[in-house]
Structures are given as structure tokens and as C-alpha cells.
Symmetry: C2
Subunit: 329 residues, 2 copies
């Protein structure tokens, strides 16, 4: 494996990742994060070996215990002998590392387990935010043989909603004593849940949180698949710090997966995800090609024609798209 | 003029806008804001009639007096018998109107002046933020015969920096008693200024603000064009609420314009602006075409192939770009 960033020996890296090399996985995820020019080759190398992993998204406001819950789920999955990938997405930072150090320390018990891959990925500043890099990082972990990939968003806001479009099953975490949190979360995060987890269930107010949630969702007593074959998100109580309830969460995920597979929803979700990923790559490609065309004189001469009123910007954009499409690799 | 939103009689609207109809200008700017399908025709109709207006960007933290300053500049420009366009860009809101009502009221003295067009444009939620809609709205005001277009950002943050890429001359407003503001602004907004305006110059601390600014810029005593023919942004003091200093600001703008014209910088700035605008339209076009292709089966079948590992997402993106480029209008 050569060490230059531009000259990564991609086939060897892909092979090593498939063989379970944590170092190769780390390197490939870094390439995704950097928008490395070798990504095209990485994607081609991984393509035949992906599509097996089940992707679980975890999101929730700060303080609900996302990392602890992830940790507990990893332990429960390892007891079932599943290979697990953990992808911590930090949309607030252009750099991975720093902000996630705490999480990494908490995940330390799994750090030496060859059946667990833990990677963080920063998405700020990336074209398309989560939609460009995250699916590609998921693909790396998938290609490395993970059975389940837990994607945890560290950030808040839009990224919490976006994660649902990346996951097969989305878990929204809540905690008692954050009463306002439920109201605040109403803005969007609640609707994306396939499974609700009320963590810190040993604290005062846990039952109130569950009841509030039930009331808000109008779901009291109707969880799982209803008579019309629609999915009703269950509410699971956990104490993640002690690992309590992790198996119940896995059971809820399994039930949701079964429902998705039965109804064809899994294929639909994944198809939509792949379409979005392809679109994000196409847009990044287009930008890169326009950048490349700048080396020639096309955009400048187009811009001059627009400036001189000889060409309107829409017609110029059409030409740019035609020029870009002619570019080959 | 037909009233249906989809069937705007574009040639008639463009003609009316060129003839000075405030209503036609308003309608065209709304079309830009809405991403109306008739924009292509609008752009084509306007193209031969644009390129004359001089674009001045105004930005600064909340509370420095942006609207009052804009108002004072409009009055000063009207005394010189210039036709003036004012474009208030609100990057924080998906809707124009509400947030800008206050500004509109303050601008009331110009509201009935046929030589002044005042429009607001919301940019949040638009593809590409400022870069898609704002240049097109500028083009409308340009085509309507404005000599000068003042583009004021209501928001803070990235939009303040972006505005510099849209303007021929960028004014950064500061006010005394916002000492921390200078430090905070350091992050980027100070570097984009072609002209600094310290407004509320009758307040305590105005001279301190000027000195702080001079110190920070290392510019003490060296304004205007230096011996190396580089531009040194001048610092102008104003009391916008009384109209004081507005002529000095116009003089600074004129000096900067003269320098830009002499050095060829004006053409360079406008070429870069047109290139960015074309790129933003190309990306919006690409998204729209991908959306259009969804009507057919291309993206779904591509996504299926990606899901099945037959195609990697980069190769799928290439195909999507090729398909998109084949689309015609």
C-alpha cells in the first residue's frame, strides 16, 4: 500500500477492507471524507460486495445518551455474533476527530474487537452535506462485511432529519426530564422514527415521557403492525448505561425489518437512497467538471457572452451541461 | 398579462419592465424567487438589455443601520437623477415579505418614486442560496433601466460573505458601541469590504471604532489607490438617519468603480459573477432534469443496478449526467 494520498492502491485497500482490516476501512472512510479522487475506483471495487448490511440510524437531542445507546446496541449485537459498523456523523464540524473523542473513549470496550468497526465522518463543507459522503462510508463498512451499521448523528437540526433517508430503520432517542425536548422535537424529528427509545428509563419522569409521546402520536396501545399493515412505531424503554433494554431495541428493529421486507418497503427505501446518492455524486461530478473546464476557456467565454448580452445564463448553463457530459474518465 | 402563474406572458412582462413598470418588475422578481418555469424565457428576453447597472452590496451586523443607510444612499442617488434598484436579500427566510416589512416602511419615502424599484427576495430553501436567485433578480432590475442596484443582506453569516461575490463594490457597515462586533466580524466580513462605513458617527466611540478598524487593517492614512495600484478600502463616517455622509459614500463608490474600470477588475468581477450564475443554473437544471427523468424510469433503474451491485454509484452518476445532457427544451 503506497502512502501518497493521491496514489492510494485502491484495489489492495478494497481487498484488505473486505478481509477485515480495520486500517484499510479507516483509510477508505478517510478517502470518502476527503472527497479523494480515488473514490470512483473505490466505489467500483466495492460495488459487487455491498448491499448486505442493514443500516440503523440513531438520532436525538444532545444529552439523551446517543453514544451510550450505540455502545449498548453494539454489545447486544456482538452477543448475537453480528459484525457491526458504527458511523458517527458530525455535521457541525468540517473535521472529524476532536468532537468525537469523547465518544471514541466511551466506545473503547469495542475498540479492540475485530468484529466492530468504529468510524467518524465530518460532513460540514462537503457538497450535499450528509447525502454525498455518508452513503459512500456506509458502502465501505458494508463491503467490509458488517451485518449491521449503526449511523449516529452527533449534530442537531437538519442532519437529524436527513439521517432517516439514509437508514433502513431510524431510531429516535428521547430522555425523561427533557419535557420541552418533545415539543421542540415535534418540528420534524418525531415523524422520522421507526422506533422510539426512551432512554434513562430509571429516572423520574420516564413514564410521563412515554405517555406524552403516546399522546402526541395518538398511538396509545397500537404498536407494531396495525390491521391495515401500516407500521406503528413502538416505544422502547432503556437504561443504556447498564445495557438494559438493548435487546428490546434489537427486537423492535427486527420487527420493523420484517415488516419492511414483507411489504417491499426495504427495497423502496434502498432504491430511494441509491438514487439520492447517485444524484449527489452527479452534482459533485458536475461541479468538478465545471472546475476542470475552467482549465480550458469554456466557462470564461460563456461568461463573457452572458456579460455581453449575447447569451442568456440559461442557454449558457445548457451549453455547460452539454460540455460537461462530453467529459470522459 | 395573463394571471396564471404558469402562463406568464413573459415577452409582455419583460417589455413592461423595460418600460419602467414597477408591477412588471415585481412580478419578474417573484418569478425568480419562485423558480418559475418561465425564467428561461425571462433571461433570454432580458439578456440584450442588461450589463449597464452598477451593483453595490451592503452588509453588516444587525443594528448597524443597513436599511437607514440604504435609504440615505437612495436619496443621494436620486438627487443625482440616477435610477435606483434596491434588492433586500433575506437568506434566513423562505418567504419574503414579513421580515422585511419594517424595511419597506422605512423606505416609504421612495415607494412612490418611479425612479426607484424596491424588491425583497428570500433565498433560503433556494438551490444554491444567494447564487441562484440573486443574480437573476439583479438582471431584472438591470433590464428595467436601473443605473445603480443596492443589494442589502438582511441576514448574517455566510450570506454576508456571498454578497461580495455578487457586487461590483461591497460596503461593510459598522457602528460604534459594537466593539466586539469588529472582533466578531473579523472572521471574514472585514476582508470583503471595498468601502467601510462607520455609521452613527455622532455616537460616543465612533472615532474609536474608526481607529480600531484602521489598526486592524493596518491602513492608517492609506486609503484609495496606493502607489502599487492596489485598492485600499477607505473608511467613511456617516449619520445615515440624517443623510449625513451619503455623498461621501457615493464618492468612495465612484473612486472604487474608477479604479476597477482602470485596472480591468470590473470585467473580471462580472465575468466571475456570470460564471457562478451559469454554474448555479446548470446545477439547478441538472436537479430538475433528474427530477424529470424520474417520470421516466432512468434513475430508478440506475438505482436498482446500484443496489444489485451491477453498477457503482459513480458510473451511475456518469450515465445520469449523459442522460441529462440529452434532454432538450
Amino acid at each position: 500500500m503506497r502512502s501518497s494520498r493521491r496514489d492510494a492502491d485502491v484495489p489492495a485497500l478494497v481487498e484488505a477492507a473486505r478481509g477485515g482490516s480495520a486500517r484499510a476501512v479507516a483509510r477508505l472512510v478517510s478517502m470518502v471524507e476527503d472527497g479523494h479522487p480515488g473514490l470512483r475506483e473505490v466505489a467500483a471495487g466495492l460495488a459487487p460486495h455491498t448491499g448486505r448490511a442493514y443500516v440503523v440510524g440513531l438520532t436525538g437531542s444532545p444529552g439523551v445518551g446517543k453514544s451510550t445507546s450505540t455502545n449498548a446496541l453494539v454489545s447486544a449485537l456482538r452477543r448475537r455474533e453480528r459484525r457491526v459498523g458504527v458511523l458517527a456523523v458530525d455535521p457541525s464540524s468540517p473535521f472529524s476527530g476532536g468532537a468525537l473523542l469523547g465518544d471514541r473513549i466511551r466506545m473503547e470496550e469495542h475498540a479492540t474487537d475485530p468484529g466492530v468497526f468504529i468510524r467518524s465522518i465530518a460532513s460540514r463543507g462537503q457538497l450535499g452535506g450528509l447525502s454525498f459522503g455518508t452513503p459512500q462510508a456506509i458502502r465501505v463498512l458494508d463491503g467490509a462485511g458488517c451485518d449491521v451499521i449503526l449511523v449516529e448523528t452527533v449534530g442537531v437540526g437538519q442532519a437529524e432529519i436527513e439521517i432517516a433517508s439514509l437508514a433502513d430503520t431510524t431510531i429516535v432517542l428521547l430522555a425523561p426530564g427533557m419535557g420541552d425536548g418533545i415539543q421542540a422535537a415535534k418540528a420534524g424529528i418525531l415523524e422520522i422514527a421507526d422506533v422510539y427509545v426512551v432512554n434513562k428509563a430509571d429516572r423520574d419522569g420516564a413514564d410521563t415521557t412515554v405517555r406524552d409521546l403516546q399522546g402526541m402520536l395518538g398511538l396509545a396501545g397500537r404498536y407494531g403492525v396495525d390491521p391495515d399493515d401500516r407500521w406503528r412505531p413502538p416505544i422502547v424503554k432503556t437504561i443504556a448505561s447498564r445495557g438494559e433494554g438493548a435487546d428490546d431495541v434489537l427486537a423492535a428493529i427486527d420487527a420493523h425489518r420484517e415488516w419492511l421486507e414483507k411489504t417491499g418497503g426495504l427495497r423502496d427505501r434502498r432504491r430511494a437512497r441509491a438514487a439520492r446518492e447517485v444524484e449527489a455524486i452527479a452534482i459533485a461530478e458536475l461541479r468538478a467538471r465545471i472546475g476542470g473546464l475552467h482549465g480550458g476557456s469554456t466557462p470564461d467565454s460563456l461568461a463573457d457572452q452572458v456579460l455581453d448580452g449575447e447569451l442568456d445564463p440559461y442557454s449558457a448553463a445548457d451549453r455547460l451541461l452539454r460540455e460537461s457530459a462530453r467529459e470522459t474518465h
